[in-house]
Symmetry: C2
Subunit: 472 residues, 2 copies
């Protein structure tokens, strides 16, 4: 590790990288063997937990996500472990009462998380306040996050306002989370400059390579005063994922933005993960390259693969383009919300319905109804009154912070889960996923956990080539 | 097309893009349907001929490359067609006499080439002079080219010297050909600045994305005075290929480097080629992502896939890393030649031999012997005297331009091919490839041309899934 890196790097391969390219399926057993090498490189942090990994562990891998965290903590003694947290949603899909948020953050810190990147899909900072306070109370690093998007209402002033609120709440750093790859180099210049002028915190940039712009964005961000960048080992970089770690090290080497990191050391990590990735080939998305359609439809890479699976199940993959065209319209009806978990699912599912039923809003999901009822927080701008009427009639939306309406839940969750939860961590797992979490915990007790199987590519290819035309 | 683009874009999808990703296998029939859209976009030029396409047409596709050019010319009435020409090697693998070079350039111009990018693998500008003169005589655009590489001898002054010679020879523009993705943003700044200060020609940058740096390189090149960039439709971009056209348009839009091009129009081209690409899935390389090992071993992307095939045939794919480690050593022995056709093959094959025989230079190829004899031109710097001795003993290398030793050949080639060549173009095809060119021309007369078949992926997958484990 260099003595004086001028730019700090967060390595994403243990979380966002495999979330983007193999649907979050990497197993802990495939992470641990390389951890000592990762640990020695000198990254500012390793994003390794949160986001969709908690869900994937419980749902598909039948791994205890808390155990993963403990194992990673032990295997990465010299590194900051970073997690992605969805504010008042934590890692679940609803708003939790403040006591659940506080318990979740505390347990995450206890088990090994050092840096909490906390965001809200609507950029409603009221949804971030309790978790940021909990992070600070746990003595950890709180990274308040701007969910970046583009719309007539999302101008630089709008984002500066959010960043100032995040600063006032006690954030240690500010992250620009460009989950869809919508940032352009020029927009990065404008945004980072304005943030630097109005906020006194280090700026950390996270930009997906979906549209092929992210590496240029990182360069521009650094030139304009950002000091932290997110990158991913070449084994899981680019496309829906992120600029390549080795490439950014090389790009910045010998300049005023030198990362101080050793390319060869990262190449070893990459060589390891290239082999690992092959094991998960069945989860590779068809849509993994650069796709600039995102610049028009604002659909994040991960969302595209979800939609693709959703449509495939309905035998309607050919409606993909129609759905991609519908998404920005739904988004506009909903007041131009950013598309990120859970709003990407909300908008995506409604867009699929609008296309598949042949009539927009003929069928409206409960999530959209709840959104119009204010249950997710404050819309970034005025919603479509007609659609709102279709969705909730004359019902009166709430205007307070959604969690203000929730009474403490930990006691109730604890008693509801007492037959299968063996720790507070288990209670929180149950809290995140009442159904699959409960099943997971019960099966663990019964010793009947069965991870989703991995298909053997060699076997498939062998049977394939036996049936290939004989001229090959 | 915009009225006043500030930056000129060359689209590579018809040549370098498919050369990098599907081993140059795209057929003319897959190019023509989209030509009217490509033609309307307003690219400065469309690279569509030369490089490995001539060889691939004759060897694999059983297409007449001259006919391809004629068809493209007709289908692209408003566009400059650009070709890549290997100087005195033309599109073959030896040095040709000047009359062959002159005839080849003239026929290329007659059949539709507007822009000739002319390079020499050794940067021996004596090997470029005759072709550049021929281009100018034909009234076409001559782009003199620097083959970029890194080595102790390849500093900025070295490249400036080459560029000045290319300018003196009558080049209209200067191309920086970073075929291996070795340029870094900082190296780009240094090189472009120096070229601008010492050469009075527009600078055109061509950088492969192999190491994940090319889009940043293009940005830096423009900032420092380059005015022409090479990009590729997203369908065949990134990795061993090039920055994505749509992404660069978006990155530059609204800045002082605006390309004036319409992203949506390019997206249509991309949508078309994404479908086309599927047809050629059997030619996709395993090594198509970002690979920064090139920054240490200087091996161009295309060379990696060739080596991979070579080793696969010998059942020795596991020696790939050893070969990649051997390449820079061979290159050093040969006076740090750039690695590009044909030197990449020369160095690659010798490196494979050095690894597979278990003893360096136990076996030495004729090409390496000829190289030491000066038959390719002047080495960039001193060669390894010991290896030279092993290769050629006490033989005296030539010091003149290799083609100076060749007498005119066209008459002889014409008479040798009179039974199967029906035009001067055919004679030139025969000149490029005495064996496969002759066979091609004979089979064409016999009506027995058989293009290499394409494997049907759906059929393969269907048989595969029938044999997949039943839980899937
Ligand atoms: Co992300
Ligand atoms: Co090239």
């Amino acid at each position: 590790m260099s003595q004086t890196p001028k730019v700090h790097v967060t390595e994403l391969v243990l979380r966002d990288g495999h979330q983007c390219h193999i649907a979050t399926r990497m197993r802990t057993e495939d992470m641990l063997p390389i951890c000592s090498k990762l640990d020695a490189i000198g990254f500012w942090s390793l994003e390794a937990w949160g986001g969709a990994t908690f869900d994937a562990c419980v749902r598909y891998l039948k791994e205890d996500p808390w155990e993963r965290l403990q194992k990673l903590r032990k295997a990465l003694p010299n590194s900051r472990i970073q997690m992605l947290l969805r504010g008042q949603n934590l890692l679940g899909y609803r708003h939790y009462s403040d006591d659940v948020v506080q318990a979740f953050v505390q347990k995450s810190a206890d088990n090994g998380v050092d840096v909490f990147r906390v965001f809200d899909a609507l950029n409603d900072t009221r949804n971030l306040e309790v978790s940021i306070q909990a992070v600070k109370k746990a003595g950890k690093h709180a990274e308040g996050t701007i969910s970046y998007t583009t719309s007539p209402v999302h101008d630089v002033a709008h984002f500066v306002g959010i960043a100032q609120e995040l600063e006032a709440m006690g954030s240690d750093t500010i992250a620009i989370k460009d989950m869809a790859g919508l940032l352009t180099p020029q927009a990065t210049v404008d945004l980072v400059k304005a943030l630097r002028a109005n906020v006194n915190l280090p700026i950390h940039i996270h930009s997906h390579s979906t549209s092929g712009l992210a590496s240029m964005n990182l360069l521009r961000a650094l030139e304009n005063g950002a000091v932290m960048i997110d990158t991913c080992s070449a084994a899981f970089s680019e496309g829906a994922s992120h600029p390549t770690t080795e490439s950014m090290i090389a790009a910045l080497q010998g300049t005023e933005f030198d990362t101080g990191l050793d390319i060869a050391a990262v190449q070893e990590v990459t060589a390891y993960f290239r082999e690992v990735r092959k094991k998960y080939w069945q989860f590779e998305s068809e849509f993994s390259g650069v796709d600039t359609r995102v610049l028009l439809n604002q659909v994040p890479g991960g969302m595209i693969s979800n939609l693709s699976n959703q449509l495939k199940e309905q035998g309607a993959l050919d409606r993909m383009d129609a759905v991609l065209a519908e998404i920005p319209l739904v988004r506009k009806d909903l007041g131009y919300i950013p598309l990120v978990t859970p709003t990407s699912q909300i908008v995506g599912t409604q867009a699929v319905l609008n296309v598949m039923t042949g009539q927009r809003y003929k069928s409206i999901t409960n999530e959209v109804k709840n959104y119009f009822l204010g249950q997710y927080g404050k819309a970034p701008s005025a919603v479509n009154a007609e659609v709102k009427k279709l969705a909730i009639g004359d019902a009166e939306p709430i205007t307070c912070r959604p969690a203000d309406l929730l009474t403490p839940e930990m006691a109730k969750l604890t008693s509801e889960s007492e037959r299968f939860a063996q720790s507070e961590e288990d209670v929180l797992t149950f809290a995140m996923f009442p159904d699959i979490g409960k099943t997971f915990l019960q099966e663990r007790i019964a010793g009947s956990l069965q991870p989703e199987p991995l298909l053997d590519k060699a076997a498939v290819n062998a049977s394939a080539s036996r049936f290939a035309p004989s001229e090959f």
